[in-house]
């Protein structure tokens, strides 16, 4: 071939997992696309398409490379190894090690980690921790906090690939560190995430989004645009929406159009959909899209937005205040006036991006007259209701079949692409597929609320807290999402888990033209806890008290009343703080010794606590679980609580197994799927173990009772399953129930049960008094770190975390939640700041890498809750809350200065040091 002739399309020949392949493709097609779209090897994930996340890492001639950055022509003649090539019929030692260590949670980063670590292990079978960190430094994980990944790689040499699932015997499921039941597909690459199951004939959907924060727009000749472009099938706009063009996580506040009508309120807002064949969409030049923008003045600053003369984002929300929340108890002003010591301060926090490694993705298709949407999500029933509303369909004509979800952390509660792909499928009759780009995901989906907070806390001379006032403004962005939840939840929790007899806390959610702020692990409580816990340190200093002793003195105990007047039982905070005491004493002594010998580097130790009410605040929050015994003898658990990596598939099955009285191995999971699993609510607010777990316990007990009553035996009888038979044993008597001979219901169940559990809460009155939650979880963490006094950098040394989970249903998964939450807390404390328009990628917006998470020691405290299933309390949100304040307190301990704007970047730490010592 003449070098002067361009190569247009050619057969690219290379080797994949030992097999030669030949694919006809344009030479610049990226390898990730060749593998996924042409060869169906969807185990290689795409997280950013920019080489920042490492999810697409494959081995190219044995060395790791980002498949998204390798043009097809550069793969020619080379050998490629993907996650699908690691197992070879059975799990590799590393894959088994990952499962046994709990190193895979959602699983989206797992393939990239596994292939990268495989390359390392083939050169160095017993790598050091540093070698593992160096090798895996380019692969981001948002769920696990990396510590279990490091352990799994370092100890892979011990495995021969035979997986020990650690399945417990009958009656011992609760408390067992069983390997997650849904784990194997996560390590083989078989798991189907949102972008992994697109039908061959699906139309690709491209979303036209606003480049402006506030603008009006006028659409031009859309028909002409479509007609001139072969392969482009249709353009849809707000005018095409058959239902109500308005969605929102909280129906009474719903205000967000699926596609904007004439004007936009934030950068990234969807204005139109273009549907077409995959190749046509991939090469579409959006610069020619017929839209005329007229930009208008905007504000990203809540102070500006709240001014009297500021333009309103929404009618009926004067001052751009979406909502206010308030809790008041006693007389806080008098208490502060009379207090021997009063401290006050102000803290600001930034937008934080969820940064799950899986951008939103999914496809929709018509099954008869039912619209089926298969996408990543945390809340299938909410998706169903919102999608039906927007598309003007009855809810029973929308079915949500959640794809595996590659991380959520709150943002995948809100609908994103569901109504959009639903609209295209409904209008065209063809399947419609969409995977957000990283930039699109970061621009258009929700964030953690930036907070601007002030507070004052007073104590008497003995160190008893007398009162506290708190005020926080939360930038809720352009639309409501979960803004009201944050404004309401924060005042309930801003006291921390401490007895505060006089209290007033106000929270406001204020609209700006910034990204929509919504749910993010903790719903505003992590921000509020920063100011409360840093003020506690200051107060302890004024009192001359040890900082942990001060907290122990004020911690809530059984029988105390919270700031909402709720009398508590099973309060675990004291037990958590006491568990930290020896670590605290050791850490302080070590820091003191280090600091006596060093000038330019100083060590510091900090402590902070958390409490967190599980489930919705004072409103109904039911979960329903269904279960049945099939004629072939299967114990089927319809488990609709979406497992986004946290472990509900396993934990709820463990509760169910013990309540039914059968081994965990006998339980078969069904769902989640709105057509076959009842509504188990959203995966949020640390509610699934507690609420859906309780519903599963009730369903199992009801099912058991039906079987026992049929067998006419006492409640103590033992159950066992054999093919087609339930064996019931009581003392020496054995009764075999032949299932095949019994009538079955429409779903094929001989016995079945459906049970709902809704936690008992009471509304909050106008002063925020009431019983907002039925169950609380508790925790406290100690952070040890070193500050470089000349550079302002912070190096974490260790975090020790004590969390009261009531009952650790699965201790391995509990640790996974703790470590993952801490990693996100580290990001919030030290590095993460989302700046609209500037950090819409994962190289400007950094999340903690494997090198940024220090050793974590988890201490599981179990103070059983009378309400929770087997005493369990929620955990997922709690674990992030103490991390950032503990780190800020440790920085102050090391340097003498408090950083009042989070994240505490080196720039800010050094500026604070220099301000204090000019």
């Amino acid at each position: 071939m003449n070098a002067h002739d361009p190569i247009v399309g050619q057969a690219i020949t290379f080797e994949v997992n030992g097999e030669p392949v030949s694919v006809r493709a344009h030479p610049v097609t990226r390898l990730s696309s060749l593998l996924r779209d042409e060869l169906g090897l969807t185990g290689t994930k795409v997280g950013c398409d920019a080489g920042d996340c490492g999810a697409c890492t494959v081995l190219l001639d044995g060395e790791p490379a980002c498949a998204c950055l390798v043009p097809a022509a550069s793969a020619e003649g080379r050998s490629v190894r993907t996650v699908e090539g690691l197992a070879n019929g059975r799990l590799s030692a590393l894959q088994a090690s990952f499962l046994e260590h709990g190193a895979a949670q959602c699983g989206i980063c797992t393939p990239g980690l596994l292939v990268t670590a495989t390359a390392l292990l083939e050169k160095n079978a017993r790598p050091s921790e540093d070698a593992v960190k160096d090798a895996l430094g380019g692969v981001l994980c948002r769920c696990t906090g990396y510590r279990k990944i490091i352990a799994a790689v370092m100890e892979a040499w011990r495995h021969d690939g035979a997986l020990d699932r650690r399945l417990p015997e009958s009656g011992k499921a609760v408390g067992a560190a069983a390997v997650r039941l849904d784990g194997v597909p996560k390590v083989t690459g078989a798991e189907k995430f949102g972008a992994d199951g697109f039908p061959e004939n699906a139309l690709s959907v491209l979303v036209v989004r606003s480049p402006h924060y506030k603008a009006r727009f006028r659409l031009g000749d859309l028909d002409g645009f479509v007609q001139k472009r072969p392969g482009i099938v249709a353009v849809f706009t707000a005018a095409d929406i058959p239902g109500k063009n308005c969605f929102g996580a909280i129906p009474s506040f719903a205000d967000q159009p699926a596609l904007a009508e004439n004007s936009v309120r934030f950068r990234g807002e969807a204005v139109a959909l273009i549907a077409g064949e995959r190749t046509a969409i991939a090469s579409l030049d959006l610069a020619k899209f017929p839209i005329e923008w007229s930009e208008e003045p905007h504000t990203l600053d809540p102070c500006e937005a709240a001014k009297e003369d500021a333009a309103l984002l929404h009618d009926g929300r004067p001052g751009n205040v979406l909502t206010k929340g308030m809790v008041e108890r006693g007389d806080p002003d008098a208490a502060l006036k009379g207090a021997a010591h009063v401290v006050s301060g102000a803290i600001e926090t930034a937008y934080v991006e969820h940064a799950y490694i899986e951008p939103e993705a999914g496809f929709a298709h018509m099954d008869g007259d039912t619209l089926v949407v298969s996408a990543c999500t945390q809340a299938p029933h909410m998706d169903r209701d919102d999608t039906a509303l927007v598309l003007g369909l009855p809810v029973e004509k929308v079915r949500i079949v959640p794809a595996a979800t590659g991380g959520g952390f709150g943002s995948k509660i809100d609908v994103s692409l569901q109504p959009l792909i639903g609209l295209v499928a409904l209008k065209t009759g063809r399947p419609a597929a969409l995977a957000y780009t990283r930039q699109e995901s970061m621009m258009s989906t929700t964030k953690r609320h930036p907070a601007s907070m002030t507070a004052a806390i007073g104590a008497d001379t003995d160190g008893k807290v007398l009162g506290m006032v708190f005020s926080g403004d939360f930038n809720t962005g352009a639309y409501a999402s979960f803004g009201p939840t944050v404004a309401n939840r924060v005042p309930v929790h801003a006291s921390g888990p401490y007895l505060t007899p006089n209290y007033r806390a106000e929270g406001r959610a204020i609209h700006t033209n910034g990204p929509v702020s919504g749910a993010f692990r903790g719903f505003g409580v992590p921000q509020a806890t920063i100011i409360q816990e840093t003020l506690y340190d200051e107060l302890a200093g004024k009192l001359g008290m040890d900082r942990l002793a001060f907290r122990l003195k004020n911690a809530l105990t059984d029988g105390d009343e919270t700031v909402t007047g709720q009398r508590l039982e099973s309060v675990g905070i004291l037990a958590c703080l006491e568990a930290l005491q020896p670590h605290w004493t050791r850490a302080l002594a070590e820091a003191e010794a280090f600091n006596a010998a060093h000038e330019s580097r100083k060590r510091g130790v900090g402590v902070a606590s958390c409490w967190y009410g599980c489930g919705n605040t004072s409103i109904a929050n039911p979960s329903t679980i269904k279960a049945g015994i099939s004629r072939d003898g299967g114990a089927m658990l319809h488990q609709g609580a979406v497992d986004i990596g946290q472990g509900s598939n396993t934990v709820i099955a463990q509760i169910f197994a013990d309540a039914l009285g059968v081994p965990l191995a006998e339980i078969k999971l069904v769902g989640a799927d709105t057509a076959i699993t009842p509504d188990a609510g959203k995966t949020s607010a640390s509610r699934q173990t507690f609420i859906s777990g309780k519903a599963a316990e009730k369903a199992a007990k009801a099912l058991r009772e039906k079987i026992l009553r049929f067998a006419n035996v006492s409640p103590e009888a033992a159950l066992a399953f054999e093919p087609g038979v339930v064996v019931v044993r009581e003392d020496e008597a054995v009764r075999r129930i032949d299932l095949a001979s019994l009538p079955a219901d429409g779903e094929g169940y001989v016995f079945s049960a459906v049970e709902t559990y809704d936690p008992p809460t009471l509304p909050l009155d106008e002063k925020g008094q009431g019983k907002p939650y039925a169950v609380y979880g508790w925790g406290a963490q100690v952070a040890e770190l070193e500050v470089d006094m000349k550079l302002g950098t912070v190096k974490l040394i260790k975090i020790t975390a004590a969390h009261d989970v009531g009952r650790a249903i699965n201790p391995l998964l509990v640790e996974g939640q703790i470590e993952g939450g801490i990693a996100q807390g580290i990001g919030m404390a030290l590095m993460e700041e989302y700046i609209p328009g500037r950090t819409e990628n994962l190289h400007d917006y950094l999340i903690p890498t494997i090198g940024d998470v220090p050793p974590i020691e988890s201490i599981l405290v179990e103070v059983p809750d009378p309400e929770g299933p087997y005493g369990a309390k929620g955990l997922g949100e709690h674990v992030l809350i103490p991390t950032a304040p503990a780190i800020l307190n440790a920085i102050r301990h090391a340097t003498g200065v408090l950083v009042t704007k989070v994240p505490a970047t080196p720039t800010r730490v050094l500026a604070a040091i220099r301000e204090a010592r000019p």
């Binding site: 070098a3 002067h4 002739d5 361009p6 190569i7 247009v8 344009h26 030479p27 610049v28 990226r30 398409d49 920019a50 080489g51 490492g54 890492t57 190219l60 060395e63 790791p64 490379a65 980002c66 998204c68 950055l69 390798v70 043009p71 022509a73 550069s74 990268t116 960190k133 160096d134 090798a135 430094g137 380019g138 472009r229 072969p230 392969g231 090469s283 579409l284 030049d285 959006l286 780009t437 930039q439 000349k790 550079l791 302002g792 590095m831 700041e833 700046i835 500037r838 950090t839 190289h843 400007d844 950094l846 890498t849 090198g851 940024d852 970047t905 080196p906 720039t907 050094l910 500026a911």
Partner: protein, 292 residues
Amino acid sequence: MAEPVEFYEPRTIAEAVAVLASVPDACCLAGGQTLVAGMNMGPLFRPPALVSLQRIDELKGITQRPDGTVVVGAMVTHRTVAQSELFGGGLEVVREAAGCIAHPAIRTMGTIGGSICHADPAADYPAVLIATDATVVVTGPSGIREIPAAEFFVDFMTTSIEPDELVTAITFPPAPADAVSVYEKFTRASGDFATVSVALALSLRHGRCESVRIALGSCGPTPVRAAAAEQRLVQTSLDESDVQDAGRILCDAAAPMDDVRGTADYKLMLIPRLLGRTIQRAQERAVAWRVE
């Protein structure tokens, strides 16, 4: 509809130069770690034509000339440089910088030629080429040009090569036998671009500085070098006051910008502190070298 990218895959430097001369707006594709990431952002970011250099074997080796000059082909990957034993002493800074570019997967594909042609001031190689007094070898229709690194980087993401020229190699002149060199990179997290980086090559005799070259990365549109700062250090024993003075001079020459990696003020504060750290590491290296 955007036109598909024209793709060329020449086998020799001469063929590549001929394609570049005949196809308007053609862009060289080296390792692709920046270019492909850009192209992935959409058709708007795709050049009309690409000239892949991956089949040109002439661009792939590292060799050492008899005089000690190390010649690195433009298509040599960061991993290969980071593992090469030809970079020691005064050239160790090259190996050290290559080993901390992004992360391992990027180092598998990314190349030295691609990196310097992108001329991102936050990248690692530009400052290293200045500190080592390297030369960029370029081939165009009118033959071969050798461009001193200081004349190669002319502005933010801008080099002095013409559109029809191709970088074929980088030559690193031999350093004095007693020279040591260090690359110090300050980042927010491992794998990030530098907030500020310092590349330093130094000759010490009995603890006194015989010669020194210093270049800063991420401190302006191109790598920053200040002859006065180097002169301030020569024939001193590199005491704290010497280093502080040199740091001040470098700060005056630097023009960092506020960005997500730090404010300009912070970067100016970093410069003297990182310089001190870099010099200290170089001194330690010199001691270790003598012991060996």
